[in-house]
Amino acid sequence: MRAVSDRFLAALGGPKAIATEITCTPPGGDPVPLLWDPEQDSGSISMGAGSRVRYTASLSVASVVGGDTFDVISTPGAVFRIRQGIAFSPDDIEWVDLFAGETAKPEVGVFDGGIRLSLVDQWQRLDACRFMEPYAPISGVRGGRIASAVGDAIPGTTIVVHDGGGIMPGGGLWDKDRTKFITDVATDGDLDVGFDAAGAFIVQTAPTIDPLSVAWSLTTGRSGVIIDASRGRDLSRLYNAVVVMPTEEGQTWTAQTVELADTSHPLHRSKIGRRPFYHSSPTIMTAGAAISTARGTLRRLLGVRETRTYEALSNPALEYGDTVTIDHPATDTDPGLTGAEMVVGWRHDMRTWEMQIDTRTDDQPAMEES
């Protein structure tokens, strides 16, 4: 969770006055404040789990009378920053960063001056700044190699490497897709990578549920914050085997397969058929490491996969991977909600300060075949 004070957390569950600041900074220029009227303009910010684009924002702002606001916001490379805060007094506002990123296609209403913005974090720039020639990184710590790839694309951006992810060999070859290189290396190193709400690029091990480090409590009752809740399970992508394959000429090992052996498991092939998950690894160096990766991947794929969605009073300081506790007693139709869960996404309404929070009851992130 982003750093906020105890009084900020205490204020989240009660009445509060909100302050908002939205700026657009053209390359080499000064931040230009944008006009956002909570009564007239919409505004929401979303955070989603996993690599690639993590933060998005959708909002409308008004043009500044006498200036060409659209010219400013449509400057290529302009960076938008959004933050909101709780105003404990007019001179005492505790801010929290909500978004930093760019827009791809700004639009302005010619007659009313209204500007509609769809913003995405700087992963958009990583996507666009592809390699000029096939990329063959030198051997080194995976986190460091990822940081180099990000720093080359966005000079000056803050990069925080919390975890290295082990050593990768040099010499692999990525054609032109910088973000594929980053996600390949992150996957092999069991790393979670992405931009945070302030625009810093974070490299860290995949987060886990930690009941000893609870960011926030979602409760119902006299001082509760939950407005509504739902739960669901994704049965569309079930796997019971993992195949790890080499992709580079320098990788001398052959494809390694690990399969669920427990016949009592609900995902055993006797119940749902044989369903392999393929993972192509360009940086694993030995067959043993490939088997280890396959076992770890299978463990993740066999998770419970219950997802929960809460409508709640907003806590915009929450980040991907935060542990939250849930407490809602059983009802006639539901066994109740208790325990620790991991935040995997949210959607914050800038006007209402209500938030849709998506959580998962297990540690294991959703995986994509590669």
Binding site: G14, K16, V65, T220, G221, I227
Partner: protein, 270 residues
């Protein structure tokens, strides 16, 4: 860079239509100048001619003193500043159009005046006011009371100014004033004691009602819904152009003889 001496003058002209205060700054080689009234920027672009900078203030308060400040720089990089007070004593309330000043209208002569040949402010003006909230209420499960969040202060009051126009011409003048939807300034003399706040307003949907049988009395009652807004940015164009000067004067000597300053040449008689 040093501070150089400057003189500042504020000369009220209540007879002008609309009423105005002429601001004059006098310093050596003026390059830039900014006039403020009671801390707020005076609208318009000053006309600078060597050692003189002029600007008309059409948004001055009526019947109470205003403090004018001027700050500026000289072409040599020096700075100057000055302050002066002035009171614009006007006997009528006005609606001012900031860009097309000739559209501005006197709208009432005050409580002691019974002039039914001009526009007057109807007693229905400001009859009700609304101040919209900027808030949201949430009620989490299990709570008896809602949680309120707010965004900044409550909005300033919306209200309606109701004018009666005793002729078709005056009715059309009001329509012309609000036609281009530029925010307008309401200013009333302090002596009126109106509970109708001065300020800049954006005018909403205009409603015009006939008061009497139009074949007998062509009176119209015009309702102007007002929403307080910030002052618009204004660049008042010069009243004369190069072509009008060529048309108006035979020689450059005639221009010099008829105008005491470049400001007057551009803006007409002071």
């Amino acid at each position: 860079m040093s501070v150089v001496p400057a003189s500042v003058f504020a000369i009220p002209n209540p007879a002008s239509e609309p009423p105005r205060v002429m601001l004059i700054a006098n310093a050596a080689d003026i390059a830039t100048v900014v006039f403020t009234r009671d801390g707020e920027l005076v609208l318009g672009e000053p006309v600078i001619s060597d050692t003189i900078a002029n600007l008309y203030d059409y948004a001055a308060p009526y019947g109470r003193p205003a403090t004018y400040s001027v700050t500026g720089t000289t072409s040599g990089g020096d700075t100057f500043a000055g302050t002066v007070s002035a009171t614009l004593d006007v006997g009528k309330a006005w609606l001012i159009h900031p860009r097309s000043l000739s559209l501005s209208l006197p709208i009432d002569g005050g409580p002691d005046t019974w002039d039914r040949s001009n526009i007057w402010v109807d007693s229905a003006s400001g009859e009700s006011r609304s101040s919209s909230a900027s808030r949201h209420l949430s009620r989490p499960v299990g709570r008896r009371r809602s949680v309120a969040i707010s965004h900044g202060p409550r909005a300033a009051d919306d209200w309606a100014l109701v004018l009666t126009a005793p002729s078709i011409e005056l009715k059309n003048n009001i329509r012309a004033l609000v036609d281009d939807q530029t925010p307008i300034k309401l200013t009333s003399p302090a002596s009126f004691g109106w509970d109708l706040p001065d300020g800049w307003y954006s005018v909403g949907d205009v409603e015009i009602r006939r008061v009497e049988d139009p074949t007998i009395l062509p009176w119209s009652r015009i309702t102007l819904p007002l929403t307080p807004v910030d002052a618009p940015l204004v660049k008042v164009g010069s009243l004369r152009t190069w072509q009008t000067i060529l048309d108006e004067y035979a020689t450059w000597g005639d221009v010099l003889a008829d105008n005491i300053s470049w400001f007057e040449t551009l803006m007409g008689d002071l």
